[in-house]
């Protein structure tokens, strides 16, 4: 298998895996690909993993880690101080003797106009990020030269935003005498990662500039209900709440590609800021589009799939029929009260239900094993 085929096969696998596990599978595939380091590197560039962050200790601000600000090994450049973390000085010293120039070259740092543009882009991104994602998100912009360099108007960059939530909610306990629904203990967590990669090229003629934006958004939303979601407390003051975990995870990755052509901003430094505005507007539009897609299409679609599997899903109105007829006479009735009280009697909705209902009357009971023995 040549490198191309390997990469294609790997991408094939990765796009089918649960998006939250992308990193894990990427690692495993890398092991399979050894020792073809070219293929491995290519694959890493093509696959988007959830973003990690690190702290820039010089200015005490977090920044995003990515392939675009990574240098040899595990060194990442911070856009705030333009330095690498962890400090690569020991690495440089060790490799100093013969290849001084080469080692320095490995640790790319934009300078001059490019660096100024990068600084300003980071500033603006900070405001944008806080408006949409809140203060606890992290964002970074990394720029690099291409297509003749910034002097010719050509450069490339990436805008990265990472937002994570990890939260637990627990409402107050209600009175135990009341047969109220016990508050479910829920924990919600998730992340949103925006990865925008943009290519800026001046078109021949010099008066127009083309922006090509590739965006990938990785989202994950996890809900963990203890106590079975909307399951209500059955009865009894001394009952111990059984731990019934219900885990639902939705994860997704969506990509879009957009191109715009704009008039070339003037070559002054002030003019270069327009690049940021142009890119920013494209970026915002794409993010809004993807967010609404995730909301309406993808989540809805998974719901549709499940509805296509199960005949009576979401027909919650007939939830009540079982309970009302299950309680039968005799000594069991008192313990059956709990079940009946939480389920409402409703009209049956199809012949099979009606038959089952009739047969169940007075014939059997089912009770929760956690109830105290009578």
């Amino acid at each position: 298998m040549d490198s191309e085929e390997k990469i294609d096969a790997s991408l094939d696998i990765l796009k089918r895996m649960p998006p939250q596990e992308t990193e894990k599978h990427l690692k495993n595939i890398t092991i399979l690909l050894q020792p073809d380091s070219n293929a491995i590197e290519d694959l890493h560039h093509k696959v988007d993993c959830p973003l990690q962050t690190a702290l820039d200790t010089i200015v005490n601000k977090p920044f995003v880690l990515s392939e675009y600000n990574r240098a040899e090994g595990e060194f990442y450049r911070s856009p705030w101080s333009n330095e690498y973390f962890p400090s690569p000085s020991s690495f440089k010293n060790n490799n100093d003797s013969s290849n001084n120039k080469n080692v320095e070259g490995m640790f790319f740092k934009p300078s001059g106009e490019l660096r100024e543009l990068e600084e300003q882009a980071n500033e603006v991104l900070e405001s944008y990020r806080e408006m949409y994602y809140g203060k606890d998100s992290v964002g970074s912009v990394y720029l690099w030269n291409q297509g003749g360099g910034i002097q010719e108007g050509g450069f490339a960059g990436c805008f990265l935003i990472q937002k994570q939530i990890c939260k637990e909610e627990e409402e107050e306990e209600e009175e135990e005498e009341q047969n109220q629904s016990g508050p479910p203990k829920r924990s919600q967590s998730g992340y949103w990662n925006s990865i925008h990669v943009v290519d800026v090229n001046v078109l021949s003629g010099g008066d127009r500039v083309k922006y090509e934006l590739s965006t990938t958004v990785l989202v994950s939303m996890d809900l963990i209900y203890s106590d079975g979601g909307n399951h209500s407390n059955k009865s009894g003051a001394k009952e111990e709440r059984a731990f019934l975990p219900m885990v639902v995870e939705i994860g997704g990755s969506m990509s879009k590609h957009k191109e715009t052509i704009r008039p070339n901003p003037t070559s002054t430094t002030r003019g270069k800021l327009e690049h940021i505005a142009n890119i920013g507007q494209m970026m915002e539009a794409v993010e809004i589009e993807i967010r609404s897609n995730i909301d309406t299409l993808s989540i809805q679609q998974t719901k549709d799939v499940l509805q296509g599997i199960r005949k009576d899903s979401m027909a919650s109105s007939w939830a009540g029929y079982v309970g009302s007829n299950v309680v039968s006479g005799g000594s069991r009735s008192s313990s059956g009260v709990g079940i009946a009280s939480l389920l409402r009697p409703t009209a049956s909705q199809n012949p099979m239900q009606a038959e089952l209902m009739a047969r169940l009357k007075q014939r059997s009971t089912c009770e929760d094993i956690s109830q105290p023995n009578k």
């Binding site: 408006m131 949409y132 997704g252 995730i294 998974t302 899903s313 079982v322 009971t365």
Partner: protein, 229 residues
């Protein structure tokens, strides 16, 4: 990559996710013990009906249910209890509509003695939905059902009543612990979590202003204000 290797991998994968119960013949799966076991067979029939009634089995869907009966290893008394392991699964694959999904349920029904009127039940449900029209979005869910006992009142003699009780319990489980919470989950995902991750619009109700000078001004002013305090 010989065909036999691919086949081996397929078999291993299928057994891991439970697909083999969809693909294999039901009668073949049941061991010799089931043939003598009236209760087991009736239970099997009841489950077949349940699956037919609740799960689609056509147009891209495949559903099936399998029961294994395992004798309790009970040295103390010869009454011989049984444990029934039920695997129920439905799979939906619609490649031309870019989606696929599966519902996989595993129930354990334990009958302490052969003629007991009481069984204890446990179960787990796993859901998986995948849409790949615009990217890759997957929903995975793992639900553990609460332990339960099901008892026939002493007046009824046939085991049919017990079986009906069991099926009713399964149904109630499905409704109360799978379908209803799922609705709540979808609502939460949309309205709560996604909003917490990213607002629909900034507080200003307008799109972001990409003019850098404006932001510098605002920042300077707010720093000033904080310093002034």
């Amino acid at each position: 990559l010989s065909p036999s290797f691919i086949k081996d991998v397929e078999i291993l994968y299928n057994s891991r996710v439970g697909r083999e119960i969809i693909l294999s013949d039901l009668r073949v799966q049941q061991g010799q013990a089931m043939n003598d076991d009236d209760f087991g067979n009736s239970l099997n029939d009841a489950f077949q009906e349940y699956v037919k009634g609740h799960f689609y089995n056509s147009k891209g869907n495949e559903s099936n249910v399998v029961i294994h009966g395992v004798d309790d290893d009970d040295d103390d008394d010869d009454v011989g209890g049984e444990t029934y392991n039920v695997l129920m699964s439905t799979e939906r694959i619609q490649l031309h509509q870019y989606h696929a999904g599966s519902w996989f349920a595993k129930y354990t029904i334990h009958r302490p003695t052969k003629d007991s009127k009481k069984v204890t039940m446990d179960g787990k449900v796993q859901l998986h939905a995948h849409t790949f029209e615009n990217g890759n979005v997957q929903l995975k869910s793992n639900i553990t059902l609460p332990s339960c006992t099901c008892t026939t009142s002493s007046s009824s003699t046939s085991q049919g009543a017990l079986i009906e009780g069991i099926m009713a319990q399964i149904h109630q489980w499905d409704d109360q612990f799978v379908l209803q919470p799922l609705e709540g989950v979808y609502h939460d995902m949309s309205s709560e979590i996604l909003k917490k991750l990213r607002r629909v619009m900034p507080v200003t109700r307008t799109k972001f202003d990409w003019n850098l000078e404006g932001h510098r001004f605002v920042k300077a002013v707010s720093l000033d204000v904080q310093g002034g305090k």
